[in-house]
């Protein structure tokens, strides 16, 4: 049971302590219950790689990896991420070495304006973690949660297709992401 229950009758504006591992670092935070994970990242932590597009789970621009799984940060309450391991686009590279998915996006010119790109890349890494997409058609279907208003879809699909083996190898080596 959390410290805050009806019996305890707290003030509505009681902040809840939140412990999570963010891009490999343990963080102790305080959040209001109605703060979304997206707003926590952008407004409190200044991690603005994760984008707010529709704010309703329809566009995928806010996609992050929660315990290795891709989720929409806009429809996730930060307070519900207690103890989670969270990876945002800022946490994919290892030092100066880009994640294979990031490299593939650059190689294939898989963006134009770039606004959807952090969500596309996090979603693609989540897709690789799932291990369900083998064909180009399956990649296309399993990337349907990420919209690109510029229409860079075919390059995005090609980038993901190329990066999948490297991602699999990375996962096999215990990289986790």
């Amino acid at each position: 049971m959390s410290a805050t229950t009806l019996d305890a009758a707290p003030s509505l504006f009681t902040r809840h302590s939140l412990h999570l591992t963010l891009n490999g670092q343990a963080r102790e935070l305080e959040v209001l219950p109605w703060t979304t994970l997206l707003d926590l990242l952008r407004e409190q932590l200044d991690l603005i790689g994760t984008k707010k597009g529709c704010d309703h789970g329809q566009c995928g621009a806010c996609t992050v990896l929660l315990n290795g799984k891709r989720v929409n940060a806009c429809l996730t309450l930060a307070v519900m991420c207690q103890g989670a391991e969270l990876t945002t686009v800022e946490g994919l590279a290892e030092g100066d070495e880009l994640h294979p998915m990031q490299q593939a996006f650059i190689k294939h010119d898989a963006f134009q304006c770039g606004y959807c790109t952090p969500g596309q890349i996090c979603s693609a890494v989540g897709l690789a973690n799932e291990g369900r997409a083998q064909t180009s058609g399956q990649i296309q279907e399993l990337m349907s949660g990420n919209l690109c208003r510029c229409g860079a879809y075919s390059n995005i699909r090609d980038a993901i297709e190329e990066a999948l083996p490297a991602c699999r190898q990375r996962n096999g080596q215990g990289g986790g992401q």
Binding site: T5, H16, P33, W34, T36, G57, V71, N72, V79, M80
Partner: protein, 328 residues
């Protein structure tokens, strides 16, 4: 989003005891938080049930499976036993939402998602489902996506779930816990038609929590198919969907399940039609006759008459694919 209190109980009993008049349970949050952002619902207290031990998929003594209410849509669709024994359910789940949403959304929450009627989602217009007695602009408005079966003067909304169409076909059983203890609800009796109380989507009481969905032993793995027709190839709600499941001996149908999605306030099933199919040889003619019977009482609105023909063709195709082995 409005301010609210937040609690995270660690047992079903304590979760139920936290229920108050303006509280809501939250699991995946994919629909509830969206509704809260639109100011369509303003709970004063969210009870986070993600700490409850409801994440297992286990075998039942009757040869079926018990699915914990917190199993995510993605985990359920890709569970080996679901893929092998209940492919209809896997197909239906994977036809819905996006990969991100399926990772978040829970099995129990899928049953409780609200309609995506445009008027329900617009707090600036009347809606009997949102504000009982205020009226229904959809009945004479833009009603292309709305119901053709079982609607009422008060409400022409459809139930948005794909998973539920398959669960209805599989005759799943909903396990719930409330202040008065536990009970089970047959899937066909879980959701309701709008009648004169459109605000009620289902028969779950406010203090009741879905704890599990039980699947019977028979999964129609040999002959089932989920067909979803929508405006784009992926990530859209169904205009019409069909869950078709058959048991066959050679070409002869021994048992049939046929449920429509996207056409009514609940998954639409007619046991008389299913019974009629039993003993028939699988054929386009037989499936067409079944489709005629299932749709004979359809009452299309100004903009959705196309759904009647679409549903007819979808039924014939889904049953044909199911008869052939479901992978077509």
């Amino acid at each position: 989003m409005n301010p609210f209190q937040y609690s995270k109980p660690d047992s079903v009993q304590s979760a139920i005891h936290l229920v108050g008049p303006a509280s809501r349970f939250i699991a995946g949050g994919t629909n509830l938080l969206d509704l809260m952002k639109e100011n369509l619902t303003r709970p004063e207290h969210l009870i986070d049930i993600t700490g409850l031990p409801l994440r297992e998929v286990t075998a039942t003594a009757k040869g079926g499976l018990m699915i914990g209410a917190l199993v995510s849509n993605a985990d359920l669709a890709w569970h080996p036993l679901i893929e092998q024994r209940y492919p209809l359910l896997s197909q239906a789940i994977l036809a819905g939402a996006s990969p991100q949403l399926r990772n978040m959304a829970s099995t129990g929450g899928n049953l409780l998602q609200r309609t995506r009627c445009y008027y329900f989602y617009d707090a600036n217009v009347p809606c009997n489902k949102r504000e009982p007695g205020s009226g229904c602009p959809a009945r004479n408005g833009l009603n292309r996506i709305h119901a053709i079966l079982g609607a009422s003067e008060q409400c022409v909304a459809t139930h948005p779930s794909d998973m539920c169409v398959a669960l209805a076909a599989l005759e799943a059983v909903v396990h719930v816990h409330g202040r008065d203890g536990a009970r089970t609800i047959e899937f066909a009796d879980f959701h309701r038609l709008p009648g004169d109380s459109a605000e009620r989507d289902n028969h779950l009481a406010h203090d009741e929590l879905i704890t599990a969905i039980e699947l019977p032993a028979i999964g129609f793995a040999e002959h089932s198919h989920y067909l979803k027709i929508r405006d784009r190839a992926s990530y859209a709600f169904a205009l019409v969907s069909v869950a078709a499941a058959l048991e066959m001996t050679g070409p002869v149908i021994r048992e049939a399940r046929l449920v429509l999605g996207g056409v009514a306030h609940k998954p639409w099933r007619d046991k008389t039609v299913e019974g009629w199919l039993v003993g028939k040889v699988a054929s386009r003619e037989a499936f067409s006759t079944a489709a005629d019977a299932l749709l004979k009482d359809a009452q299309p609105l100004e903009h959705n008459a196309f759904k009647v023909k679409l549903a007819h063709r979808a039924i014939v195709r889904a049953l044909s694919d199911a008869a052939l082995g479901g992978q077509a």
